[in-house]
């Protein structure tokens, strides 16, 4: 019979290991790469959409506000989801037409992304970007897709992370927070956990469908007019290739969670997933989605998180930082 003290000791060891795993100080560099990559992808996406802002988000857009605000299954709880129509009164008070108001909101979104990119007033920029992305995507629910889901999730995590500690204007101005911190470790761990669970869920759901085992999913995806970038109809004559790609995708996603936990298999699996997303960009044209996924994979698993000394970090930046360390 195991003694109570032994169980207690074991419990304490597990608790200590968990505490170490989640809170041991980590470098903020992976989170800085996450911030820069996320902002860069969303900025590129915003520029690609800039010429169609009113078509996508305006009151008289392709799907009008009265449809998006009251016509969805969330109508009973519409009050909880901020929508551009909430700002009607504000636009009127400021003497702005609705169209100009929509452009102002979109411009604020782009501005907050620029602040996030360079790490200036990082926390405020993060809050503004999250809120504006939420408003814009809620105002255009029929046109959102996977990249918007990941943008929402990433920006929500970003709210709680120390993103401006390095590679930022805030760091240069010495107000970015500690370079190494428990907060950085917690942020990184939950980003990693989310990526691992997401890949597992995606792999399991794919594996439950016959199309991923007989190659039909790959065949359909690359030949669908909406997504096809090249004429891939020839694939029908080589069914082994889509079958192989289908199996590889499912196995890759399901095994991701285990492979990233092991130092030896982490790099190969993450590189393989990055390769898969490059394929998605190239053959399905989902460039924003693939770019964001690559940013998330790189920042979560490929940027070293071992704490760096303040001297090392400061040396990369300004004379003031070096002087501060020397002092």
């Amino acid at each position: 019979m195991i003694e109570r003290e032994t169980i207690k000791r074991g419990g304490r060891r597990v608790a200590a290991a968990m505490t170490e795993f989640f809170t041991a100080p980590a470098s903020s560099k992976p989170l800085a790469v996450f911030r820069i990559g996320l902002a860069a992808v969303l900025l590129a996406q915003a520029f690609a959409l800039a010429a169609n802002v009113t078509d996508l988000f305006g009151r008289e857009g392709l799907i009008q506000w009265d449809v998006t605000y009251d016509g969805t299954d969330r109508s009973a709880m519409a009050w909880a989801y901020p929508h551009l129509s909430w700002f009607d009164g504000l636009f009127a008070t400021l003497g702005l037409s609705e169209t100009v108001g929509v452009y102002v909101m979109f411009s604020l979104y782009v501005t907050s992304l620029v602040f996030l990119l360079v790490g200036f007033k990082t926390r405020a920029a993060c809050i503004a970007t999250f809120a504006l992305q939420l408003i814009l995507s809620n105002s255009s629910p029929a046109t959102v897709y996977g990249v918007d889901s990941f943008a929402r999730v990433s920006l929500f995590y970003a709210l709680w992370m120390p993103l401006g500690a390095v590679y930022s204007i805030d760091a240069i101005l010495q107000r970015g927070g500690a370079v190494n911190s428990s907060a950085a470790r917690i942020g990184l761990r939950f980003l990693q956990l989310h990526m691992a669970l997401m890949n597992l869920a995606s792999g399991i759901e794919k594996g439950m469908g016959a199309q991923w085992w007989d190659g039909e999913a790959i065949w359909r995806a690359v030949t669908m007019p909406e997504l096809a970038q090249y004429d891939m109809m020839w694939l029908a004559n080589y069914p082994w290739l889509p079958i192989l790609l289908g199996w590889a995708t499912v196995i890759l996603e399901v095994s991701y969670i285990a492979a990233v936990c092991n130092r030896r298999t982490r790099l190969p699996i993450v590189l393989a997933v990055i390769g898969m997303h490059l394929g998605i960009a190239l053959f399905l044209g989902l460039v924003s989605f693939a770019s964001l996924m690559i940013v998330l994979n790189v920042s979560a698993f490929l940027i070293p998180s071992e704490p760096t000394s303040l001297k090392q970090t400061a040396a990369q930046f300004t004379p003031q930082s070096i002087a501060a360390v020397a002092a």
Binding site: V67, Y81, V144, A221
Partner: protein, 193 residues
Amino acid sequence: MSTRIRVFMFFAIGHMVLVALGMAHIGVLPVTTISGKALRVYTGVSGADKGYGFFAPGVRHQERAMFLMTDAAGKKWESDLGFGQSAEANLRLGSTANVLREVDDETAFHFMRSMAAKMFQRHPTAQTIKVQVQAYGIKLPGASNGVPPIDFPTMAEFRSGQRPQWIDLYSLTFQADEAGQTVAVLDNQGILK
């Protein structure tokens, strides 16, 4: 570990549990309760309610909306939703047609009315606009209510000579009233889907 970190960890782990449940499409509380509503709002805003079954369990056939405009002289011309200025914009605009199959008839009607209104803006000389929803695929054997099922051909079907094409599903024709609002002219005996 400081109290602040402990509290943060508590909420972070709780969030991750919600994320895992969201991925598994498991609702924790009914939205009829206050706590259920609060949780729904939280998961919606944070993105914790997102599923990640991209192209899963399979890839569905594509649907699109085509617009047939007719002016006062009876001249007809066609257009589609590819009026975006970038591939990213066109991807978003074009995908709205795929939403039609996910919603009920009433919502689909409002979506089609809204699309027609946008097309009236883009084609001011149009008197009527027919919104035609089409599917890309082949007609399969068997029918329900006289409508054959449509799906994209398998690789084997493609090798045997079957080729996907755009097949008309349902349509609504709209005209602009004096106030500039779109008015539906039902041309499908009231059945959309």
